[in-house]
């Protein structure tokens, strides 16, 4: 079980460094915009070709089945699967690009697409998308399309996604006399207060002060209050605004309804507290649903998922996802596109995401996301699917970002431990961030 969050945050760091690394290497593959120029459907290869496909999911039964299906439909194209652990994927791809030997197609963390594209390592897919009957640029959920868009062109096709939502224990809600999951901040606090009873070792929610959890789980509240982290050019610190402070104050206040035991823990280890019935509400990504289903079947039916409560600026959730990209140094670009196009057919995306047996990821295609079929197949994904249009990415393309995030985390942690107020925490973190950016 990959710890979803740590993979993401690591990917962010690696991606920024990868971008720098790529800048230093001459990629030399020529212009990436002329690939796929032409009219009508991309022709089928007439003699057998092999394309390479790098991912960390190549061994999953659903992926194997999709590849087998592709090879049956396209007998002249053989897919050679390269498996890389998720944590090392970006590093490996960077090295492969630098060495002039990247795979034809790769499954990558969608948020890293722009950084590979900026270094001309990826094929601009606009030509191919224009010629395709299957792939439609405007079929994708806007937030995910943003991930893979660079310079107004699409360099990847979103393949799966997830959002952060509110997990809650239905049995504990019933016992505390709460009829429905909270939809606003005051309702959230009210529910947390009712669920908390230290004598019975029950608590309203979980709170983590360890890095990067304190910052990461603050972001959704920040979006809901209408706050931002940095300006779009990455030069201005915006997370000490009045909106941000209201979000931080509320967030830090919720620490009183959290088990102190888990303060120095993380959201993966904290799953125990939710599974034990210690904690009634748990903010987490959809990976958490998979973990609960696999590891704690005993509480099946005792928990559910709802969208995060709305703040003064409406709804907001942190999203992440994966995308399929093609490398411009690849040798069989047309065949590679055939594969990407096949995988991106809505039925195959559905098969990969919500229709997969243990899968809890969401399809990044609007029509699938809104289809009644999704809720019918995986009722647990309803809350995530509803939250998706409010998705904001926490990925900041700035090589200094990991240090700034660490400052936010350290200062918020002090506030959670009661050493300073939430407003002071943000002011201190902002002062530190200004120093780092200068």
């Amino acid at each position: 079980m990959t710890h979803r969050l740590s993979r993401r945050s690591l990917a962010t760091v690696v991606a920024t460094t990868a971008a720098l690394a790529l800048a230093a290497c001459s990629t030399g593959g020529g212009s990436s915009t002329d690939k796929g120029a032409g009219e009508g459907p991309v022709p089928e290869p007439t003699s057998p070709v092999t394309i390479s496909f790098a991912s960390w999911v190549g061994e999953q039964p659903d992926m194997k089945a999709l590849i087998a299906k592709f090879q049956t439909a396209h007998p002249n194209i053989k897919v050679e699967v390269q498996n890389v652990p998720a944590e090392e994927a970006n590093e490996k791809l960077t090295a492969q690009v630098a060495g002039g030997n990247p795979p034809d197609v790769a499954f990558i963390d969608a948020s890293t697409t722009a950084q590979f594209a900026a270094r001309k390592a990826l094929v601009n897919l606009d030509n191919y998308i224009g010629r395709s009957d299957v792939v439609k640029a405007d079929a994708y959920v806007p937030a995910f399309k943003t991930f893979v868009t660079y310079d107004n062109s699409m360099y990847g096709l979103p393949f799966d996604g997830e959002s952060t939502a509110l997990f809650y224990r239905t049995d504990m809600f019933q016992a505390a006399g709460i009829s429905a999951p909270p939809t606003t901040w005051p309702e959230y606090e009210e529910a947390a207060r009712k669920l908390t009873d230290p004598a019975k070792r029950t608590y309203g929610n979980a709170m983590f002060a360890s890095s990067p959890e304190a910052a990461y789980y603050w972001y959704p509240w920040l979006w809901q209050a209408g706050g931002k982290l940095l300006s779009d050019d990455g030069k201005e610190v915006l997370f000490a605004s009045a909106e941000a402070k209201s979000a931080a104050e509320f967030y830090v206040k919720m620490a009183q309804y959290a088990p102190k035991d888990y303060l120095n823990s993380n959201s993966y280890d904290g799953r125990q507290a939710f599974a034990n019935g210690q904690v009634g509400m748990y903010v987490a990504g959809s990976w958490f649903a998979g973990t609960l289903g696999e590891e704690f079947p005993a509480i099946n039916g005792k928990w559910s998922v709802a969208p995060l409560p709305k703040g003064s600026a409406g709804c907001g959730t942190t999203i992440a996802g994966d995308a399929l990209v093609m490398f411009s140094q690849g040798k069989n670009t047309d065949a590679a596109w055939k594969f990407v196009e096949f995988m991106s057919q809505p039925d195959n995306v559905a098969q990969w995401t919500y229709k997969s047996k243990d899968g809890t990821t969401l399809p990044p295609i609007s029509s699938l996301l809104e289809s009644p079929d999704l809720v019918a197949t995986k009722p647990i994904l309803k809350g995530f699917a509803e939250a998706m249009p409010c998705g904001v990415s926490n990925v900041v393309a700035n090589p200094d970002w990991p240090k700034i995030e660490e400052a936010i985390n350290a200062e918020l942690a002090k506030a959670i431990y009661g050493e300073q107020t939430a407003a002071q925490a943000l002011d201190n973190a902002a002062a530190e961030a200004e120093k780092i950016i200068r």
Partner: protein, 303 residues
């Protein structure tokens, strides 16, 4: 001695040639050592003047910037204090308990072989496994420690141990002492058994009671073992990492961030290889000073 030395100086090459087969046997070890230790050491030193994030092929020269940053780095200073705290608490405690256990298990009691094995067991248990188990023992709501402490009314409110900013380090120390007692015990036991019995007999004839025999015979005779354990303990605990990584991740609020954990963060969280190498060299220097001091002690004690 002196004469032999002078004679050999001229013929070093000759001797080397005569013993050439020995170098053949040494070669595999030497080559591995050169590549994985000597080269790594040299490369790390080179990196202390560079900025490097592992991925980038370029390693721009930054002069003494890394050293300057280190001198002004408050977080690093705090990690030194934390390390000193850990070392100062865990080394003497582990040695004292080790000595006590060794003295007890030197008595002719039933099943002492089994007991010795049991005390030594934590030492050969994979450390990660012990750390994870101890994490559960320290759990505030369900941990065994709190269960018994509450039951015996030693505390009225459950303690949150690893999540409490003032208790986290003592908790890590306690776990480390538990893990190291077995080793101290074995070393002391060997030391005790090599003390000649005549000394005790003579002391007894002179009218020394059990306390005086311990104070004036056993403990002085054990000083080589004590010095050895102290050197190993200090060097080991300056490099404490595993239990920090597993049990607290350096938290809460960096109260358990020790030097090696801080170096690890610089290298693998922020990808600042140059800075991390600089910090590692600082740690190396500190250990060098300690080792030199202890070697002097050794010599003076003429052990």
């Amino acid at each position: 001695m002196r004469g032999r030395g002078r004679g050999a100086r001229g013929g070093v090459l000759k001797v080397m040639w005569r013993e050439r087969s020995a170098y053949g046997f040494l070669a595999p070890g030497l080559i591995l050592f050169s590549i994985f230790t000597v080269f790594a050491l040299g490369f790390a030193f080179y990196l202390t003047f560079r900025e490097w994030n592992i991925l980038e092929p370029e390693k721009p020269f930054v002069g003494l910037q890394n050293y300057q940053d280190m001198v002004g780095d408050e977080d690093f200073r705090r990690s030194i204090i934390n390390t000193a705290y850990f070392t100062g608490a865990s080394v003497p405690l582990g040695m004292a308990i080790g000595l006590a256990v060794a003295l007890l298990l030197n008595q002719p009691i039933r099943g002492r072989g089994l007991l010795r094995t049991l005390y030594f067991l934590p030492n050969i248990t994979p450390f990660v496994v012990s750390a994870i188990i101890w994490k559960w023992l320290y759990n505030g709501d369900y941990g065994l420690f709190n269960f018994y402490l509450l039951k015996t009314h030693l505390i009225t409110q459950p303690l949150t141990w690893l999540s409490d900013k003032n208790l986290a380090m003592p908790a890590v120390v306690l776990m480390s002492v538990w893990a190291s007692v077995g080793f101290s015990m074995v070393v002391y036991l060997a030391g005790i058994q090599s003390i000649p019995n005549d000394l005790y007999e003579a002391a007894r004839i002179d009218g020394a009671g059990p306390w005086h025999r311990l104070r004036y015979v056993t403990i002085p005779m054990l000083s080589p073992s004590t010095l050895f354990l102290m050197v190993m303990g200090i060097i080991g605990s300056f490099q404490v990492f595993t239990q920090i990584y597993i049990m607290t991740s350096g938290g809460p609020l960096d109260r358990t961030t020790t030097m090696v954990y801080y170096i690890y963060e610089a290298a693998f969280k922020f990808y600042e290889m140059g800075y991390a190498s600089t910090l590692a060299y600082a740690l190396f220097l500190m250990l060098l000073v300690f080792t030199a001091l202890q070697l002097r002690l050794y010599r003076r004690a003429d052990l």
